[in-house]
Amino acid sequence: MDSPVKPKHRLRQWVEKRWPVASVMRWGTVDEIPGGTRFAYVLGSATLALFAVLVITGVWQLLYYVPTVDHAYDSVMFLRLQVPLGWLVHGLHYWAAQAFIVVMGLHMARVFIWAAYKKPRELTWVLGVVLLLLGAAFIFTGAILPWDSLGYWAGVVGTNMAGTVPLIGNFLKLLMRGGDAMGQMTLSRAFAVHVAILPALTFFFIVAHIVAFRQFGSVGPWKPKKPEKTGSFWPDQTFKDLLVVAVIMMALICLSAFVRAPISGPADPLDNSYTPKPEWNFLFLYEALKAFKGSWEWMGTVVIPALLVLLLFAVPFIDRNEKRNPFRRPVAMLSGCMFVAVILVLTFIGHYSNSGANTPASSATASAPINQVAAPAASAPSPAAPETAPPVSTNAPAPAATASAPTNQVAASANSAVSPAPPETPPAISTSVPAPAAVAPAPTNQVAAPAASAATPTAPETTLPVSTNAPAPAATAPAPANQVAASANANPAASKQNVIPSQTNAVADNDSGSTNQSPTYLREVQPIFAASCARCHNPQTRIYNWLDYKSAFADRWEIRRRVWDSWKGWYYKEAMPLPGSPESLAFTDAERLTIRKWVDGDGGAVRGVAPAPAPIAPEPTNQVAGSATSAASPAVPGSSQPNTTAATTDLQAGGGLFVSAGCVTCHKIEGKGGVAGPDLSHEAKLGRSSQWLITQITDPRKHVPTTIMPAHKNLTQSQLKGLADFILNPSSSQAGLGAGTESSAKIQPSASAAQPAQEQQNTTNTSPNSASPATDAPAASATVVKMIGDPKHGAILFDLDCAKCHGKDGEGKVANPGSQAGVVSPLAPISRGLFSDDPVVFAANIDRFIQHGATPPGPAPALQMPAFGTTRSLTVQEIANIEAYVLSLNGVDAAKIIHPGITPLRFVEGTVALFAVALLAIGGLWIRSRASFPTQTGGHTTPEEVQNLKHEVAALKHKLEEMETRNPKDSSGSIDSQQ
């Protein structure tokens, strides 16, 4: 290229005649840079070089990657851990992608400052903006491909953003997802777009961009002081480019070696403890979106990004004056700086605003594992149904209420069919009628379940302890069904109010003047939120917090659209709860209807809301009184007042308060209750004192500053005492929620589930050499063990599910009376029989316990290891994350690079040495040949170069002549300009 065509290069000439290599090369390399070469000009080349790295490493990853939802994550981890230097290929791709965006941004900034977009280079800029958009699309689709938590949720957020486009939003979202939900079609689409469509487009636009650039060449400095001075692209600028590219490559290699690309654990649609957050590249957009809520959302998701893009495209057409000196165009520069500043600030806000939610401590009190949500709902119908059916069948007046199996749905539907509760019917039956009817407006799973059991006259032991609240109404229903009656009448009425954690007196008072068609109030939907929504909509998550009813109220229209309109197909956004989630299985039509009524029913939502977010469920007295009229249960009014306030400090009252004060909405005790808060069945075993519990109830922030538990300050000392006593000793009280036969037996967490795996925890010293001692485990085990979880996320899950028994950070020390060791075995350090250096073996060792549970040796261990896997209370992915965390507690990296090829450190050392040698060689060469340089400035050419150029000119002239003889029209003057 830089040497003249010599006759001896016959092959070259032969090719040259058929394909103009020299001309193309010359076009690519010969470019006069006015004002000389600069390091500032390297950014375009650096971007191109990074793109090349991305293409190469991307293609290489295809050797291992498969775009299927069940194996994508495993295949990526296989490349990263098991393929020699696979970690580097993946790391380079990851880090080059990050650098690509950064360098691209710098390149744009440079062009903007130099005003290189101005006439006649507008099109170069526009094509560059297209490339920027393609880069964004690359980042978005690429993040989805590993199908890890990060990518999955980025995909969810991204496609949902597209879904907010007016009119066509839903179509766009479905198009991007390839269907209704995120799944295989989404992954396939992301894959095809990322590896085929986008690269093709990018190649095209890069060529177009460079052609446009070459058309007018570099723009040069804005001060045309020394117009005579020029530099050449090849090799002057190229050398600078290469230097910078070498530095960037070195940085990428170091990053790949020492800062590994994130491992966020396998994607798990059901894992609510993961906080979805976009990649940093999109954080600013995400943050901007948050300013718009509800029906204005499309402003944030569509209008703002569209405006940003339009603005970028329009820059060369808006800023059309000739001036290029940045100091002479303050408006342009200021707006440019503003633009960058806004994006940076938003990005930083986005980065830090959510940091609290990710800390394990704060989420300790967050929602429980999802499947527990399903459990109460599922268990409610089965035990209660057969018992309830017979008595109800005799009870004609209230068929809607209880005729069929008393699932939540039925209980809820009683709302519409407010039954004329006939108090004159036989006690047992009569009480069974008001129960569902009264409970109907509050159709949470939890409330529904006790209601169902309350309706069972044959099983008084299953009644709720609320009976103590209402001895007065019980008078109407004497005899064995006494308790049943009481609870049926008073409890639902009371609980539906009290369960609302953020309920206020005002609410209760307000609705006493209800009309015939009693409006739906917030307090009736709040239990639904607490039971079915709080897994995601709580203060810990990014998504709107509905446990705080003020924000729930603010979002009510959106809530209605999601739970009702989209479900009916009238609204384009995703239906809530998410299809296939435990909530959606337990979420009933009646609940949807309740929420809808709440939003647009007769201004009910407005009236039901107090001005300030009340911290707590108030004195039960007011509520029961207030609710009486709307409760549709004739027995209640007034009668319950004296009894609720007459809070004797015995366990029964405590048990009653547990329901009436609303604890049961969030906390499970004795197998009944909500799942938003921790299960309180084992507080005594955890060594809690009565005083500790009282503090926890009145001022939970004292124990955990970030807890979402509201402070319940309205309870009297005696009430608190009774509540604490009940929590410490729930089963001994006749009023225990699950009192009766089952209460004493079912103390252990999922004791029954632990049975199949009666392996003693200490007999596990299988040989560390045997690669998989858990081969007798079902398929789930094999799936989990090979999965590489995210220890950080595992820490969050550990705090939620394991720390209660294994202690914070797995240090143990939790007493386990009745077991041989006396304490729960610690996990950090873990018993030597389970430990292994090999992460797979280690994970397999502990996997058995997490999957199938275990009973520690000893006469009667109070605490047993629950079978999280077989009971499906943890998903496969969640178990993988927890295992990764336990491994990390013991100093084993679940994501250890197994076949590094060369170890990362060695590779970096080698590369540094290579570059050092190269730099030394260049330095030596420079010292040797420096003498022959006429000047150091780039403008002047050496005699040699003049000679070379002359050769080139001769060759070109020769070629021109040839062309002229072939086609006279081609003799344009373009070649002359090269001189």
């Binding site: 830089d2 790295v53 190469i56 490493t57 290489w60 050797l63 291992y64 194996h71 495993d74 295949s75 981890m77 296989f78 490349l79 098991q82 393929v83 020699p84 230097l85 696979g86 580097l88 380079l92 090799p235 002057d236 190229t238 050398f239 290469l242 230097l243 590219v245 070498a246 490559m249 299988t766 040989s767 045997s770 690669a771 998989s772 858990a774 081969t775 007798d776 398929a779 094999a782 090979k786 076949h899 090829g901 060369i902 590779f907 590369t911 290579l914 570059f915 040698v917 190269a918 260049i922 060469l925 420079w926 040797r928 040949s929 022959s932 050419t941 005699p943 040699e944 170069e945 070379n948």
Partner: protein, 164 residues
């Protein structure tokens, strides 16, 4: 050497380590795991502790096959003769003749292959039929009373026991 030529040389010198730095990982990951042999695993075989002594019993276990990132579980069966709680012989049920499953005949006290009538003694020796070699034994170990078997397949129809 002129300035231009120097720069061309410098570019070349700089490009060399760049090429190596990128090229080496590419080459290494292309070669990848082609030389890695899959490790044989011992699989726990339940039911050994309750097995009768001196009599072949068929035990089932789950074998995990690993193919890169794919782990597939297959249920396999073996003939186990327990000599003592710490000693046992494990036969692959696959007949060395054509790969049918040989069965223990408790009346004749022989392993008999149903396909072509190969007969093996309780020690696995060929006593009749077309089988070219004795029943294949499998590597195993006994730890804490539990039997771990290393599942393997061997070529059929040849006199030598060769791993497939």
């Amino acid at each position: 050497m002129g300035r231009r030529k120097f720069l061309v040389c410098a570019c070349g010198i700089l490009a060399a380590p760049l090429t190596v730095a990128i090229g080496y990982p590419l080459a290494a990951s292309l070669v990848g795991t082609i030389y890695h042999q899959s490790k044989l695993q011992f699989s726990k075989t339940p039911g050994f502790d309750s097995a009768p002594r001196g009599q072949p019993i068929k035990l089932n276990f789950t074998d995990i096959e690993t193919d890169a990132y794919l782990r597939t579980e297959t249920s396999e069966e073996v003939w186990v003769i327990k000599h003592s709680p710490t000693e046992a012989t494990v036969f692959s049920p696959v007949c060395p003749h054509m790969g049918c499953r040989s069965n223990w005949n408790p009346e004749l006290k022989k392993f008999i292959c149903p396909c072509h009538g190969s007969i093996f003694s309780i020690t696995g020796k060929v006593e009749g039929g077309p089988s070219p070699r004795a029943l294949d034994t499998l590597t195993h170990k006994i730890e804490n009373g539990a039997l771990y078997v290393q599942w393997e397949r061997f070529e059929t129809g040849v006199a030598k026991k060769v791993r497939v």
